[in-house]
Every structure is written in structure tokens, then in C-alpha cells.
Symmetry: C2
Subunit: 336 residues, 2 copies
DNA sequence: CTGAAAGCGCTTACAG
DNA sequence: CTGAAAGCGCTTACAG
């Protein structure tokens, strides 16, 4: 015996399918008595409305799609949890898709979601204005997360990378550090370039005379290690290193330690992200914490609004998720 | 203008909708020429078949559901990535649902997936035979992951916890450690109890005379710290501590360090999981690595088989994902 | 090879 | 309040 349909319930309750539908969806236009009888019949038959049939007729899937570059790692883990929680709270299902190596794969994934979702949460390094125009259905509510958005009017959420970087530079300056070097992230990476921008800007406005020094990196621990070796060779040597992410900061500290340099006594080192490991390295890492889960939650909230009430969210709405300074031993600050 | 339907394509290509359907689904029973014309029309109209309509008629959603206790953290992050990759490879969409605080919430989530998925990947601490009988549709292909399965014949994947724990105990014994204490995980947790079982079994078979000592814990770093303090107070003191997970091992090491005890010279400490942090603590942690992504991949594979070919997977099929010893400094082994 | 028609399970005007 | 009927967009026997 297959799953019960609305017809079975109608027969069992001796009413028409129309009444069953009405009773089970809010109950307007049905006597309390009939409604009760219908509900009992549905329960007895373990009736669950067929999702596809309902989608077809209501044009609503009650599902949102999340297209992410990856699912792995601290960042995505927290992001997807924030999204999931917010979706759940709104009674929405979550369809995920990730790991698109190139723009073509991302486009395919995007297309495949068509008709399966009421809205889209999109984070993709491949997405630019052109890509979006090509691959996003016109009328599908969409919120971009940490994605290039020059030339688009989609709603967008992003991490306040420059603000965070500025906080860090101000912190280092306040401790008396003068020669602050910056380890860059991968070129073309938006987070990385915004962090660098914040670094430059903070130096320019607070300490215009101080040297601006950037070292190549790609977010990997190894690249941080190599940057650390470069720091060792510089004359005059920087008295602080600000890495565009924590893993590079950790790699950098390893290089300094191997050379017998004490952190933070001889050189301060700090990062960005506040990965869990940051607390556990020696010395614990001063870094910038970003509320990633909030990024997911807020994006979902914005998307939910658009879905429920198209037009309720102004075109091109932008929001930033705040970044906070987390002071630990590696920057040489007196710890309370 | 809304999305094009099959009718629009039929009109554009001057054929019936039946031909469009045939041409676009494999093309059997259509001349190459007609098929070509139809494809061009579809492309021109940017036609994408309406997913819901197709689901309704084919009874296939091309979607699998993953019901997980959480999405956050190393373990789930890796698990879901393994699942996602395997699902992608089979052209299946992935619907996720998580964070069910109790059995009732899990049941609701399970029901909500009905009709939306062709199969289910299920990991739930709330799921026992009774729960499954109550809440799983009879004929829905399902694979259980790391879930209690006494009394069920669902297919199931699980981590080889006892095997891993046995490896660790054998490793410690081979290094000459005699009094090996074990820090337990939360009571009722399947992974935790299997690891403890492996610990006891390995001691019983390889070193029946050695003391069996268990200390309470709940997988949190704090509980490991407290267990570490208990270890310090014991006489005779254990010469090795095996924690049921890495975070407790890390907490334990912190307690020992504060008391001025050297790891591994005075006491060896090791964990289970190989979280990324394990490499970075001082000293680096000897632990058991589990190929979590494999768990997800294999589960997906088993599920895919069941979906494609019901009956092709023997009822009650069980598989275990292997666990490997990762030797680092904390166990006092000579590192190559 | 091609098309007209039935039907998947539901919701929603439209009558009564 | 209640029911008969149309229709959402698709696929698939069934004829031709």
C-alpha cells in the first residue's frame, strides 16, 4: 500500500477533496465539525500532502537554495549552520550545493535549482554581474553573500573586512608598534583585498609616516611560513606582522619560532578570522572575530522577506556583518 | 514574462509537447532532425523543465535528504562535504536538515522530507528502532549513519570506534605504558561507549593485569581539564591518559601543564578524532583519525544503489569506516 | 516517428 | 458551508 492521497482522505471522511484541502490548510470555509472529522481521517491514514503536487499548483516550494563554494571548514560550517537555523525558523527547507570548481559548474548548479527553490543564497567567487545576469532567473529572490557586486542590484551581505583590519592596525599602533607588515591573501579574493585595503587605510590615516609593507600569501599556513622567513630577512625588521588570515599568522609564528625570535616580545603577530585553533597556539593569537553565523542568519532573513513580500526589500540593499577585535597574547598587549 | 513551459517549446518548434518531452529526455522515438529543432527551440527559450511537475509524474525527486544532529564543527563539516560530493556525482540534490533538540523535532523534520526526497541519510541520537518504525515511510530507501540500530534492518554505516580505540591502547602498551586511564564521553553516546569498549577489550586481551580506570567526561574541553585534575590526584598515578576525544585530551594536557607535569615524559596523553587542532597543540597530539568524508561518501553510495535498484542492497547491510592511528609527540613515541 | 489524451495530487475560483 | 471542475507542467501508454 502506497502513501495516502487527498482522495483517500476525502473518501474516509466522506467529503470532497476540496473540503479536505480547505480543512487541512487553515480551515477557512469549513465547519469546525467537518474539519475535525477530516483531520481525524488524515491522521488515521497518516496522510502527508504530496510536496510536488502542492509545489506545482501553489508555485511555492518552501525551499531555499544555498550555493556555496565549499561546505568544508570552519567558515562554511558556521555559515551553513546560521542559514539552516534561520531557514528552519521560517519553515523553509534548505537545498545545498557546493564545490563548483569553475563558473560553468556553478552555472549548472544554479540552473538545476530552478523551480526547486523560492529563493537563493549565493556565495561564489565566480559570480560577477555578467555571470548573474546570465544564470539567475529574473524573478528569483536572491541574496548575495561575500560576493562581487559591482554593477548588480541584488541584495548583499558581507563581512566588514576593512573595518576589522582597521581595528587591528589601530590596536597594534596603540601598543606602540611602528613597522607593521601585512601578509596578503590570494589575489582576486575579495576578503583578502578588503583586509589589505583596511590595513592601508588605517596606516594612512593614523600613521602616515609608517612604512607600508606587504608580503605575498594565499591564506595557507605554508604561505604564512614563507612570509615569516621573509620578515626575518628584512632590515629594519618589522615589529609587527598582520596576516590576512589566522592560518598564515600561525605559519608565520612557526617560522619566527624556528629562528629563535620571541612572539610577541620581539615581533607581534596577529591574524583574522578567529578560527578555533587561534586560542590554542602558543602564544594565543590576537585576531579579528567575525560572526559568520550572523552572516547566514541575516542573509536568510533578507531572503525570507523578499520571498514573503516581493518588493519589501529595497533593490540593492547592502548590509555588513560586524567584525570584532579579540586580544590575546600574540600582539603583546597586556592581558587583563 | 514568466519561465517558458514545455508548451512554449512545442509551439516554437512546431511539434507536440509529447515530442518535446521525448526529445529532451534521451531522444528515443524522435528523428534526429526534429530533436535538433526542439533542442534549439528550448535553448532559445531558455527552457528548464519545471521540477515539481516532473516529480509529480515520475515519482522521482532526484533529491536525497540528510538528517543530521548538527551542521556545525569539524565532524559534520567533513561529513556533509563527503555526502555532497557523492550526491553531486550521482546528479542528486541534497536537502539538509539539522539541529533537532529532541525526538519530536526530528520526527517533524523527517515527515517534512516526505515526498521531497528519493532517499534518506539519517544520523540521529534520537533514532532507535521504535522511532524509525514510527517515522520512516516504509518504502523510502534509508541509510543510517552512526545510529543505534539494534532491532532494525536498515543499511547502516558507522565509524570503527572500537577498532580505533584498540589501536590506541596497543600503541600505548607497545611504548611501555602500564596504567592507562580512559576519559569517557557523554553517557548514552554511541561513539563514546564504543571507544570505551575498545579500550577495555584491548586491555583485557593484551594486558589483563593492568588497571582499568575510567574518568567521567562529556567530550568538552572543560571535562577533560577536570579529568586531568583527577589524574593528578591519583596514586599510583596513571602513566598514560586516553581521552575519548581530542578536545578532552587537550583539556587534560592543560591541567597537567598547569601542575607542572611534562607530557609525554611524565604522562602520555592521547585522543580520538584528529581534529585539525591536534597537530597544533603542544606537544602535538597522538590520536585516531577517522575518514569522516568516507562515511558520507559510502553512505551516499549505498543509498544511491538502493534508489536506482531497490532490492540491490541486502537488508541490514552494515559497513564500518576505518580508523587510523596518528602518532605524534604526546604519546611519547619516538617520532621518525 | 508523431500527436491527442489521460493522469500524477493538489488548490482554487465558481456555482449551488 | 460544500462539491464539481479546471488546471498547474509534465510523461507515457495508446493510436495512427
Amino acid at each position: 500500500m502506497s502513501a495516502a492521497t487527498i482522495k483517500d482522505v476525502a473518501r474516509e471522511a466522506k467529503v470532497s477533496v476540496a473540503s479536505v484541502s480547505r480543512a487541512l490548510n487553515g480551515g477557512r470555509g469549513v465547519t469546525a465539525e467537518t474539519s475535525q472529522r477530516i483531520r481525524e481521517a488524515a491522521l488515521r491514514l497518516r496522510y502527508v500532502p504530496h510536496a510536488a503536487a502542492r509545489m506545482l499548483i501553489t508555485r511555492r516550494t518552501n525551499t531555499v537554495g544555498a550555493l556555496l563554494p565549499d561546505l568544508y571548514g570552519e567558515f562554511f560550517s558556521e555559515l551553513i549552520r546560521g542559514i539552516d537555523l534561520a531557514a528552519r525558523a521560517r519553515g523553509l527547507h534548505l537545498l545545498v550545493s557546493s564545490s563548483h570548481d569553475d563558473a560553468a559548474a556553478a552555472a549548472v548548479a544554479l540552473r538545476a535549482m530552478q523551480g526547486r527553490v523560492d529563493g537563493l543564497l549565493l556565495m561564489s567567487p565566480h559570480a560577477d554581474a555578467d555571470f548573474l545576469r546570465q544564470n539567475l532567473p529574473q524573478d528569483l529572490p536572491t541574496v548575495l553573500m561575500n560576493t562581487r557586486l559591482a554593477g548588480t542590484d541584488y541584495c548583499a551581505l558581507s563581512v566588514d573586512n576593512d573595518g576589522g583590519a582597521r581595528l587591528m592596525v589601530e590596536h597594534l599602533l596603540s601598543l606602540g608598534h611602528q613597522r607593521i607588515a601585512f601578509i596578503q591573501g590570494p589575489s582576486g579574493n575579495r576578503d583578502a583585498s578588503e583586509r589589505e585595503f583596511g590595513y592601508r587605510e588605517a596606516l594612512a590615516s593614523h600613521a602616515p609616516g609608517n612604512p607600508v609593507t606587504t608580503l605575498g600569501g594565499d591564506f595557507s599556513e605554508e604561505s604564512g611560513y614563507r612570509a615569516g622567513q621573509q620578515v626575518l630577512a628584512m632590515r629594519p625588521r618589522p615589529d609587527a606582522v598582520f596576516a590576512a588570515n589566522d592560518m598564515m599568522a600561525i605559519g608565520c609564528m612557526a617560522a619566527l619560532r624556528e629562528a629563535g625570535i620571541c612572539v610577541p616580545e620581539e615581533i607581534a603577530v596577529c591574524g583574522f578570522d578567529d578560527v578555533p585553533m587561534a586560542r590554542y597556539v602558543t602564544p594565543p593569537l590576537t585576531t579579528i572575530q567575525v560572526h559568520i553565523a550572523e552572516l547566514g542568519e541575516q542573509a536568510m532573513e533578507l531572503l525570507g522577506k523578499q520571498i514573503d513580500n516581493p518588493g519589501s526589500v529595497a533593490t540593492g540593499t547592502r548590509r555588513r556583518v560586524r567584525a570584532e577585535l579579540v586580544v590575546r597574547a600574540s600582539s603583546g598587549a597586556p592581558i587583563a
